[in-house]
Symmetry: C2
Subunit: 271 residues, 2 copies
């Protein structure tokens, strides 16, 4: 199994609404041009409390919607994107990530990279999958467990984070479970086999895409207080320092910076 041939994740978490055009350009190229991810793609942009969700079972290189996303600069503080290589579940709109559900009056958005084997948790009916992927099933189970544990009032994010890091570990027993999860305020990233991140902040410099010969100078596009965290299955640029996220931890990003790493599996790296 070559990981490069599985799904790819891309997440962005910022302290000010930012467009993802540059990173999406490199990411999109992996949907059929420089890599073999041809079973659909999707991207979710939080905008205030709302979400714009674009899904397409077509390869992202063929998709007119991907073209729109690349050219139309949607500004967002939290973005979750996914390019899919189908392993469980057919190629269809309902099996296309990111998935989305409402809990506690907030939209939650989830995308997963990896394949879970023999994963069929008991679902009580509060959150049920629409498609037939292992990923949506895992998402529904996590929402169900959050509702079960905390009831109808949202707890502190600290408590949620603790709870979710245990769930992530439990699900990882069924197979690779790299995921991105956001409620529009925070971004959680779980590295189970492969995930990297970087934080861009002042002084900004230029960055060069790995997958296409595109260069951008962030100095021209940012203000000095901007801070942006990018999380991706594989580094997207070849002249910046990406931090590999060791397997087994849940990572909490907020306002473009790393806030916390779970202690459940491995000793956390220094923040």
């Amino acid at each position: 199994m070559r990981e490069g041939h599985l799904c790819q994740l891309l997440g962005m978490n910022c302290n000010t609404p930012t467009d993802i055009c540059f990173s999406f350009t490199g990411f999109q190229a992996r949907g059929g041009l420089t890599d073999h991810h041809t079973d659909g793609w999707g991207i979710a942009f939080f905008e205030g409390k709302g979400v714009r969700l674009f899904l397409d079972p077509l390869s992202s290189i063929q998709s007119p919607i991907a073209d729109l996303v690349k050219r139309f600069p949607i500004h967002s503080k939290n973005v979750v994107s996914h390019i899919r290589k189908a392993t469980k579940g057919g190629v269809s709109l309902e099996n296309t990530h990111p998935f989305r559900r409402e809990l506690w009056g907030q939209d939650w958005v989830f995308a997963h990279n990896g394949t879970l084997s023999d994963y069929s948790p008991a679902l009580n009916g509060n959150f049920l999958p629409i498609g037939d992927t292992d990923s949506e099933r895992a998402f529904c189970w996590m929402l169900q467990e959050m509702r079960q544990e905390f009831g109808y009032n949202r707890p502190s994010f600290e408590m949620l984070f603790e709870s979710l890091s245990k769930m992530a570990l439990a699900i990882s027993a069924y197979g690779p479970f790299n995921f991105l999860l956001s409620n529009g305020e925070r971004m959680l990233a779980h590295s189970s086999t492969q995930l990297s991140y970087l934080v861009r902040e002042a002084p900004f410099s230029h960055a060069h895409l790995k997958d296409q010969d595109v260069d951008v100078d962030f100095k021209d596009l940012t203000s000095v207080s901007d801070r942006v965290a990018i999380i991706a299955t594989q580094p997207l640029t070849d002249n910046e320092t990406w931090i590999e996220m060791p397997p087994g931890n849940l990572w909490w990003f907020e306002d473009g910076e790393l806030r916390k790493v779970s202690k459940t599996a491995h000793p956390p790296p220094k923040i």
Copy 2:
């Protein structure tokens, strides 16, 4: 109050996946060109069990996403669209119709035309609004009541229809409650003050838009077995016979034809 200055609804229910480009062209013109609906718009396309949902708080005439929808022929058996004139709730993505929730492992999509006054039903937390419109509140309440009445297994659609027609009537006591509701298999339309529909079937002929000088000959675009029901706040064409839907009833469309009209308020018209 001139109804023409409130929101506009557009629904399509077909027996075979059909694109809505023609009707959407006329409908979109009402978002700022021939009418005063400038507080956003949205459209949901069912595709299998999945939904493509495009939302934009911008006026539909300015929106690059509306432009994509108009030119990119997405084929669907159930489409719900809405152009908004904000009456309750600010102009934002989370207040933009259609709204969407999962119930019984199906996506449900809802759009509302009208304004409810002093409407604050008790919500138990199973379905909570993300934005602050009366419309999303009504949608959440209906889902909650369906779950409450029928539990975790979806009942027959007959039973759902009976139940929803009573709910629609109860909510109408708070103000105009024209709505479209679909689970991807059927389309329900509730006329509370203003709604019309027509069914296009063989022999097909040409149709001419009211709001723009656009003409289409459906003979060239359809096969003889196609059947399409279009439901709209106001007739979209000026050379076809639209049927006005008298206030107080819930209408059930399936496979492009009218299946049933509720008997709760007024004597139903002959089908």
